[in-house]
């Protein structure tokens, strides 16, 4: 398909443009709404061009918050969400790479049993075990805390499995060469396995960061204080107002702001991310 035809590409391009428009239009609409006057939006007379309230709305959103439903500025929510997503991503990677290392490289009793136990947790996502998890978190005084937000979500089988599969493709001779070179288990892990897993770690980090960022149910349960809520919860609380008008520009600005960190992570990690998915560097 090297041949270039002037109109041959037209239809595929058309389809692609329609697809892009379908995805991008709501985002654009959110941005436009966040720069306009609330009254215009409420009247249903919103312009499709950005308004002139950009700085005013975003300043209010970030540092002041809505006047009604949730009085917390979105800056705090962004911070909470960021802490939560980071802790989940880093914590999951740290725990799962170590447990995969143990499962693949060490012979201990009940090794396979341990592996299957970890594997089975795949079938029990947070939603299924939500009550016992909540009970434990409450008993441990983890409500309204960062540890409560993150710890229950950190123990993860997916990442363990992924690292296990990767470790099994690392040639045994590398381990043997390391042993002859005088590297013990810790050195082998640090000097050889970790650098080799770099792209895998990056790919996982992107996936897990977004996973953590998009958490909704668990933060909804575990946090009650306004200053502990994440941005996903904040948006929802802003929309439901009992007596006042929903402040749509602020809601939309929050939505736009909520999209930015995951986008930033993907953009920054893209190169490594793609390499982690398509190639194994050996």
């Amino acid at each position: 398909m090297v041949e270039r035809r002037r109109f041959g590409n037209l239809i595929p391009h058309l389809i692609l443009w329609v697809g892009i428009a379908l995805v991008a239009f709501p985002v654009y609409l959110a941005f436009v709404a966040s720069t306009q006057d609330n009254a215009a939006i409420a009247n249903g007379q919103m312009s499709l061009l950005p308004g002139d309230l950009f700085f005013e709305t975003y300043y209010k959103t970030l540092f002041v918050g809505t006047s009604g439903s949730t009085r917390e500025p979105v800056g705090t929510m962004l911070f909470n969400s960021f802490v939560m997503a980071m802790a989940i991503a880093v914590g999951k990677i740290a725990i799962s790479i170590l447990s995969a290392y143990a499962i693949v490289y060490f012979r201990f009793r009940f090794r396979m049993a341990v592996f299957w136990l970890i594997f089975i947790t795949l079938m029990l996502p947070v939603e299924v075990r939500i009550y016992p998890t909540y009970k434990i978190a409450a008993d441990l005084n983890l409500l309204d805390s960062y540890s409560g937000l993150t710890l229950p979500l950190i123990a993860s089988a997916t990442a363990t499995l992924l690292f296990r599969q990767f470790f099994m493709t690392v040639p045994d001779e590398l381990l043997e060469a390391s042993r002859i070179d005088g590297a013990g288990p810790v050195r082998f892990f640090k000097d050889t396995l970790l650098p080799l897993s770099r792209t895998n770690i990056a790919a996982l980090f992107v996936i897990l960061f977004i996973y953590g960022w998009n958490q909704y149910l668990w933060p909804l349960l575990i946090t009650t204080r306004d200053d502990m809520q994440t941005i996903q919860i904040g948006i929802r609380k802003m929309i439901t107002t009992s007596d006042a008008l929903t402040e749509w520009p602020v809601v939309m600005a929050t939505a736009v702001l909520a999209m930015l960190p995951p986008v930033a992570v993907v953009v920054v990690m893209q190169k490594l991310f793609v390499r982690g998915l398509v190639e194994t560097e050996k």
């Binding site: 001779e173 060469a177 002859i180 650098p195 050996k282």
Partner: protein, 350 residues
């Protein structure tokens, strides 16, 4: 500098499979010992036991007068070159060679001196900053050797180090490994399935089969006096012709052999010609295939005599004396070129 001694070394795997069935062996200080055998004969396992990568079920592995059965690989003072080189993919060539030295806590200046010395010997100084991925197969091979040299080990262990190279490079590297080992005067144990590699490299050739040693000796000694039919068939290309003594036809010596005896004769010891020397062997052949390899040819024939009808025989002849396909010829060998083996496959006293 050290000798390597194995005393009745055995290896039994957890499943009860006996991989090494009692091997005793002594490699003198500075000697080049080659373990050769078909795949699955236990030669790699034996090497890995010397390296400390496999446990020893029973027996003793002794390096330089110290029994090392329970010593970690890193503390055995050995260096190993792997078949797939096992270079650290994320480290530069320099770091690949320096890694083991750093782990041993050598001073930075000493490490640098050793790496550069090894790089100079192997002519890879220009590659020190590169990653293994950017190297050709031959260059990787050199780096793997370099990693072994910098350690100044007592023993080099090679696990089929040349089998991933193309034929030409393999021969060149073979010569180089030999030169290098002579120069460094370090004891070496080398595993290969290639009998030509084994013959050309070894001071001491160890032929293994089914977890046991078939024969230990200097390469030419093994070639000229194979201890068993297995060695006779394995060492030498094309392999020695082997046939039941009864097929050799009625003659004086064959009749006095024990029942089930086997006669062997190497392709190059067979001559085209009608008359057998006194007490020798004469076989009438039909030529079935001919391989010209330049200065000489290999003739594949079927014996047409009544006693040995259907036996396959390979004969090496000069290129200008190659018989045509389908013709009938006779080949002969004198008595002193014949190898006689008993029914158990062991060589009979000459």
């Amino acid at each position: 500098m050290a000798d390597v001694t194995l005393r009745d070394v055995r290896k039994t795997y957890a499943g009860g499979v006996e991989a090494i069935k009692g091997v005793s062996l002594k490699v003198a200080d500075g000697a080049f010992c080659v373990l050769v055998g078909p795949s699955g004969c236990g030669k790699s396992t034996l090497l890995r036991m010397i390296a400390g990568l496999e446990t020893v079920t029973s027996g003793e592995v002794d390096i330089g007068g110290r029994v090392v059965n329970a010593v970690e690989p890193a503390a055995r003072d050995i260096a190993m070159v792997f078949q797939n080189y096992a270079l650290y993919p994320h480290m530069s060539v320099y770091n690949n060679m320096a890694y083991g030295l750093r782990n041993r806590g050598l001073a930075r200046a000493e490490i640098e001196a050793r790496v550069h010395e090894a790089a100079q010997i192997l002519e890879i100084e220009a590659l020190l900053a590169r990653k293994p991925k950017q190297l050709s197969g031959g260059q990787r091979q050199r780096v793997a050797m370099g990693r072994a040299i910098v350690r100044h080990p007592k023993v080099f262990l090679f696990d089929e180090p040349l089998s991933n190279l193309d034929a030409k490079l393999r021969i060149a590297m073979r010569v180089e490994i030999r030169k290098l080992q002579r120069r460094l005067k370090t004891t070496a144990v080398y595993v290969t399935h290639d009998q030509l590699e084994a013959m050309t490299l070894a001071d001491l050739l160890v032929v293994m089969n089914g977890g046991e040693v078939e024969q230990i000796g200097a390469p030419l000694e093994v070639y000229q006096k194979p201890a068993t039919t297995f060695v006779a068939a394995f060492i030498g290309a094309p392999p020695m012709n082997l046939m039941p003594a009864a097929h050799a036809g009625p003659n004086g010596w064959a009749d006095s052999l024990p029942p089930g005896a086997v006669v062997g004769v190497r392709p190059e010891d067979l001559m085209l010609g009608q008359d057998a020397p006194a007490g020798g062997l004469r076989l009438p052949l039909t030529v079935e295939a001919v391989e010209h390899i330049g200065a000489e040819s290999f003739v594949y024939g079927k014996v047409s005599s009544k006693a040995a009808a259907g036996d396959d025989v390979i004969v090496r002849v000069a290129a200008d004396a190659t018989p045509a396909l389908g013709t009938s010829v006779a080949v002969t060998a004198s008595r002193d070129k014949l190898h006689l083996f008993g029914a158990d496959g062991r060589r009979l006293a000459d």
